[in-house]
C-alpha cells in the first residue's frame, strides 16, 4: 500500500497538470493520518463490531428459539383446543343420543299410558252400556210385572164373587186343618 501510495505521489509530483502537483507533503500527511485512522478502526472497532454482531446473532437466535417455543406452545394449545372441540363434539353427540333415547322412552311411555287409558275408558264405557242395558231390562221387566200384576188383579177381582170368596176361605181353613193334622 505504501508502495502504491509512493508510486501515486511520485506520479503526481512528476505530472504538472495533476491535482496533487506541488502538494506532496500534504498528501503524505493526509495519507498517513488516514492509515492511522483505518488502523485504529480495525484495531478497536472491528472487535466491537464483531461483538455487536455476535450479540445480535445470539439475540436473534434467542428470539428465534423463543418464537419456536411459542410456536410449539401455540401448536400445543391448538391441539388442546382441537381436542376440546373434539371432546365437545363427542359430548354433544352423546347428549343428542341420550336425549333421543329419553324422548323415545317418554314417547313409548306416553303412548302406552294413552293406550291404557283408552282401553280403560272403552271398558268403562262398555260396562256402563252393559249396566244401562241390564238396568233398562230390569226396569222393563219390573214394569211388565207391574202391568201383568195389575191386569191379573183386575181379572181376579172381577171373578171374585161371593161363592169364590167363600170357596177361598174354605180352602184356606181346610189347608190349615191339614197342616195342623200333619204335625
Amino acid at each position: 500500500m505504501i508502495d502504491l501510495l509512493h508510486h501515486a505521489v511520485v506520479f503526481a509530483d512528476e505530472t504538472p497538470n495533476n491535482f496533487f502537483y506541488g502538494k506532496l507533503d500534504e498528501v503524505i500527511v493526509s495519507g498517513l493520518a488516514s492509515v492511522i485512522v483505518i488502523g485504529l478502526l480495525i484495531w478497536k472497532g472491528l472487535p466491537a463490531a464483531r461483538g455487536m454482531a455476535t450479540a445480535r446473532t445470539e439475540r436473534i437466535s434467542k428470539e428465534i428459539g423463543d418464537a419456536s417455543k411459542a410456536h410449539t406452545d401455540a401448536q400445543q394449545r391448538l391441539d388442546e383446543v382441537r381436542q376440546r372441540i373434539a371432546n365437545a363434539e363427542n359430548e354433544r353427540q352423546r347428549i343428542l343420543v341420550e336425549a333421543r333415547q329419553t324422548a323415545e322412552a317418554l314417547k313409548t311411555q306416553i303412548v302406552a299410558r294413552a293406550e291404557d287409558e283408552a282401553t280403560a275408558i272403552g271398558e268403562r264405557a262398555t260396562a256402563d252400556v252393559e249396566s244401562s242395558k241390564a238396568q233398562a231390562a230390569a226396569d222393563l221387566q219390573a214394569e211388565v210385572a207391574t202391568l201383568a200384576l195389575g191386569a191379573a188383579e183386575a181379572v181376579v177381582t172381577r171373578n171374585l164373587d161371593a161363592a169364590t170368596q167363600s170357596e177361598l176361605i174354605d180352602t184356606y181353613i181346610d189347608q190349615l186343618a191339614e197342616s195342623a193334622g200333619a204335625r
Partner: protein
C-alpha cells in the same frame, strides 16, 4: 212407667169387665176401630180440634147407638172426648190382649175381604187350636185390600193365604 195408651187400655178393660159382655164389646171395638181407620172423612172429623168434643161424641153416638153394645158406645165416646182417637187402635189392641189373657185363649186376628160366617169362624178356630194347642178367639177384620182368601195373625206369626199375597209372589217370580 207404662205409657198412657197402656194405661187407657187397662182402665177401659176393667170397665168393660165390670159391665160384663167383655167378648162382645171386644169384637165390636175391633170392628169400630177398623171402620174409623178406613173412613178418612169420619176419622178427620173425630180428629178435628175445631169441632167441639161434645159434637164429636155426638157423631160417634149417632153412628153406634142401636147398632152396638152400650158399653162399646161409651168406650169409643170416652176416647173421642179425651182426644185420644189417634190411639184408638192401640188402646183396643190392649183391651183385646187383656181379654185373651183373662180367657186364657189366643187371639187370632183374621183379615178377609168378606165377613166369615159362623161355621167358617168355628172351623178356623178349631184348625188354629189344633195347630197351636190352645183355644183361640177369632177376631175377623174385613179388609178389602186382601182381595180374597184370609190372612191370620196370631201374635207374631202370620199365615197369609190371601189373593194379594199370591199376586205379590207372582210379581216376585217375574
Amino acid at each position: 212407667m207404662r205409657d198412657r195408651t197402656t194405661l187407657y187400655a187397662d182402665a177401659l178393660y176393667t170397665l168393660i169387665v165390670a159391665e160384663g159382655s167383655a167378648n162382645e164389646v171386644r169384637d165390636e171395638l175391633s170392628v169400630v176401630t177398623q171402620a174409623i181407620t178406613a173412613n178418612e172423612e169420619l176419622r178427620g172429623a173425630l180428629l178435628d180440634p175445631h169441632i167441639p168434643a161434645g159434637r164429636r161424641q155426638q157423631i160417634v153416638e149417632d153412628l153406634l147407638e142401636g147398632n152396638a153394645h152400650a158399653v162399646t158406645v161409651a168406650v169409643v165416646s170416652f176416647i173421642v172426648a179425651t182426644g185420644r182417637i189417634r190411639d184408638l187402635a192401640d188402646i183396643v189392641e190392649g183391651i183385646i190382649q187383656h181379654t185373651a189373657a183373662a180367657n186364657q185363649r189366643l187371639v187370632a186376628e183374621v183379615r178377609s175381604a168378606v165377613p166369615l160366617d159362623d161355621d167358617q169362624k168355628t172351623r178356623l178356630a178349631e184348625s188354629i187350636r189344633k195347630s197351636t194347642g190352645q183355644d183361640v178367639d177369632v177376631l175377623v177384620i174385613v179388609d178389602p185390600s186382601v182381595l180374597g182368601g184370609i190372612v191370620t195373625q196370631i201374635g207374631d206369626e202370620v199365615i197369609d193365604g190371601s189373593v194379594r199375597h199370591r199376586l205379590a209372589q207372582l210379581k216376585e217370580a217375574f
